[in-house]
C-alpha cells in the first residue's frame, strides 16, 4: 500500500507545481456552466429546472479534459513502464493514479458546484444533494474514465476517442446523479438515486482498476 500512497503524493506534488492544469479544469467548469443561462435565458424558474443537468454535464466535460493526462505524461517519459515492471501489483498503482486524478480533477468540481448552483438559484437543500451526488459521481467518472484513458494511450485522435468511449458508459451515472437533485427539488426522496449511484461506484471501484490494468498492459506491449 505504501507505494500507492507515495504515488498519490507524487502526483499531487506535480499537480501543485503545475497549478495551471487544475485551475484550467476548474475554469472550464465555470465557463461552460455560465454559457447555459446566457444561451437559454436568465429566467430563474427555468434555470432552477435545468441546473442539475447543466452542472452535471459541465462537470462531466471538465473531468474528461483531465482524463487524458492520467497516463499520457508518465507513458511519455517511461515512468509507466517502470510502474508496470515494479514488484508492486500494477492494480494498486493504477488505483493510486485514479485517486490522485479524482483529487486533482474531481474534488475541486465538487467544492465549486454549490457556488455555481447559486447562479442557478438553487436552494440550500438542493445544493447539498448536488454536492453529495457529485461526490459519488466524480470518483465514478475517474474510475470509468481511467479505462478509456488506458485504452487510448498513444492512439491518434485520443482525446475525442476517449470521450466517445467513456461518455456512453457514464450516462447511467449522469441520469441518476442529476435525477437525485431533480427528485429533491420535486419533493420526492433522493435516497434511491443516490443509493444506485453509490452501488455503481462500488462496482466500478472493484472492476475498473482491473480493466484499466489490462488495458495498460496491452498499451505497453
Amino acid at each position: 500500500m505504501k507505494p500507492m500512497f507515495s504515488l498519490i503524493r507524487r502526483d499531487l506534488l506535480i499537480a501543485l507545481r503545475n497549478k495551471t492544469e487544475v485551475l484550467t479544469i476548474l475554469f472550464f467548469f465555470v465557463i461552460v456552466t455560465s454559457l447555459f443561462p446566457l444561451g437559454i435565458g436568465p429566467e430563474p424558474a427555468q434555470l432552477r429546472k435545468i441546473a442539475p443537468g447543466v452542472l452535471w454535464v459541465a462537470a462531466l466535460l471538465a473531468t474528461m479534459l483531465g482524463l487524458q493526462r492520467m497516463f499520457a505524461p508518465d507513458h511519455a517519459d517511461g515512468t509507466l513502464e517502470q510502474m508496470a515492471l515494479s514488484p508492486t501489483p500494477l492494480v494498486l498503482l493504477v488505483g493510486g493514479k485514479i485517486v490522485s486524478h479524482w483529487l486533482v480533477s474531481g474534488l475541486p468540481l465538487v467544492l465549486m458546484a454549490p457556488v455555481l448552483g447559486i447562479q442557478f438559484d438553487l436552494d440550500a437543500g438542493s445544493l447539498g444533494v448536488l454536492m453529495l451526488a457529485l461526490l459519488l459521481g466524480t470518483p465514478l467518472l475517474s474510475l470509468i474514465g481511467s479505462i478509456g484513458a488506458a485504452l487510448t494511450l498513444g492512439v491518434r485522435g485520443g482525446g475525442v476517442l476517449l470521450s466517445l468511449l467513456v461518455l456512453p458508459l457514464f450516462i447511467p451515472a449522469l441520469i441518476f446523479g442529476a435525477g437525485a437533485v431533480q427528485a429533491h427539488m420535486a419533493g420526492l426522496g433522493f435516497g434511491g438515486h443516490l443509493s444506485l449511484l453509490a452501488a455503481m461506484l462500488v462496482l466500478a471501484a472493484f472492476f475498473a482498476p482491473w480493466a484499466t490494468t489490462a488495458a495498460l498492459r496491452i498499451a505497453l506491449e
Binding site: V155, L164, L165, L167, P168, A214
Partner: protein, 249 residues
C-alpha cells in the same frame, strides 16, 4: 468423440476457417431468405389486425427482431472478445471486428423502426425513457468499439483493446432487457418471457420469431462475408492468402 473437439480447434486458424466460412455463406443466405419469406407472409397476410393499434402494429415484425439482434450480436461479440483475450487467438478478434458493424446496424434499425412505431402510437418520434436510452447507449458502444479499432494501427492491440471495451460495455445489455421491468417507462412491457405464456396471438408471435431467425441468419451470413474480407486484409502477407484461387486469378 474426441476428434470432434480437435476439429474445432483446427478451425481456429484463419487459414482453415476461410474456406469453411466461404462454403457456409450461401447456406445462411438461403436460410435467411426462407425464414424471411415465411415471417413476412405470416406478418402481413396471416396475422390479424390489432384491436388497438390497427395495421400500424405490424412494425413489430421488424422492430422486435432488430432489437433482439442488436443485443444478441453484442453478447456474441463479447463472447468472441473474451475468448480472444483468454486464448490470444487472432480469429476471435477478427470475428468480433466482423460482427460490430452489423450489430451497430441492427441497433440503428431498432431505434429507427421504434421511432416510426412510436410516432403514430405515442405521438412522439423519440422519448428519453429507460429502454430507448439504453438502446441508444448500445448504439454508441458499437460506434466506440469501431472507432477504437480503426484508430489503433496494430491489429493485435486493436483486438485486445476492443475486447476490453466490449466486455466493459456488456453490463448495458441486461439493463436494456430489464429496463421495462425496472422502470415505469413509456415503452410497453415484455410480452414474451421464458417461463410465462406469451400475451399475444400465436400468429403474431410466430411472425416475430421467424423474422428474428431471418435476421439471425442474415447477420451470420454478413459477418462471415466480412470476416473473410478482414482476413484478406490482415493476412495479406501470409502464404496461404497468396495461394488463394481468387488472388492468383
Amino acid at each position: 468423440m474426441s476428434y470432434r473437439l480437435v476439429n474445432w480447434f483446427k478451425l481456429a486458424s484463419p487459414q482453415k476457417f476461410y474456406p469453411v466460412a466461404g462454403k457456409m455463406i450461401p447456406l445462411f443466405w438461403l436460410l435467411a431468405a426462407a425464414f424471411g419469406v415465411a415471417g413476412l407472409w405470416l406478418g402481413f397476410f396471416v396475422a390479424p389486425t390489432d384491436a388497438t393499434q390497427g395495421e400500424g402494429y405490424r412494425i413489430i415484425f421488424i422492430h422486435v427482431p432488430t432489437s433482439w439482434m442488436s443485443m444478441f450480436i453484442y453478447l456474441v461479440m463479447a463472447a468472441w472478445a473474451g475468448l480472444g483475450l483468454a486464448l490470444n487467438a487472432r480469429l476471435s478478434g477478427m470475428m468480433a471486428q466482423a460482427l460490430a458493424p452489423t450489430g451497430a446496424l441492427m441497433a440503428f434499425l431498432s431505434l429507427w423502426t421504434g421511432a416510426f412505431w412510436g410516432k403514430p402510437m405515442w405521438g412522439a418520434w423519440w422519448v428519453w425513457d429507460a429502454r430507448l436510452t439504453s438502446e441508444l447507449i448500445l448504439f454508441f458502444l458499437y460506434l466506440g468499439f469501431m472507432a477504437l479499432q480503426s484508430a489503433i494501427d496494430d491489429p493485435r492491440r486493436a483486438d485486445k483493446a476492443g475486447a476490453i471495451v466490449v466486455l466493459v460495455g456488456v453490463v448495458n445489455v441486461p439493463v436494456i432487457y430489464f429496463s421495462v421491468k425496472w422502470w415505469n417507462t413509456l415503452h410497453q412491457g415484455a410480452s414474451i418471457s421464458i417461463n410465462k405464456a406469451p400475451s399475444m396471438a400465436m400468429t403474431m408471435l410466430w411472425g416475430m420469431l421467424l423474422m428474428a431467425l431471418c435476421l439471425w441468419m442474415y447477420s451470420i451470413a454478413v459477418a462471415l462475408m466480412r470476416v473473410r474480407a478482414i482476413m484478406l486484409e490482415r493476412e495479406s502477407h501470409t502464404d496461404w492468402v497468396k495461394q488463394l484461387a481468387e488472388v492468383k486469378a
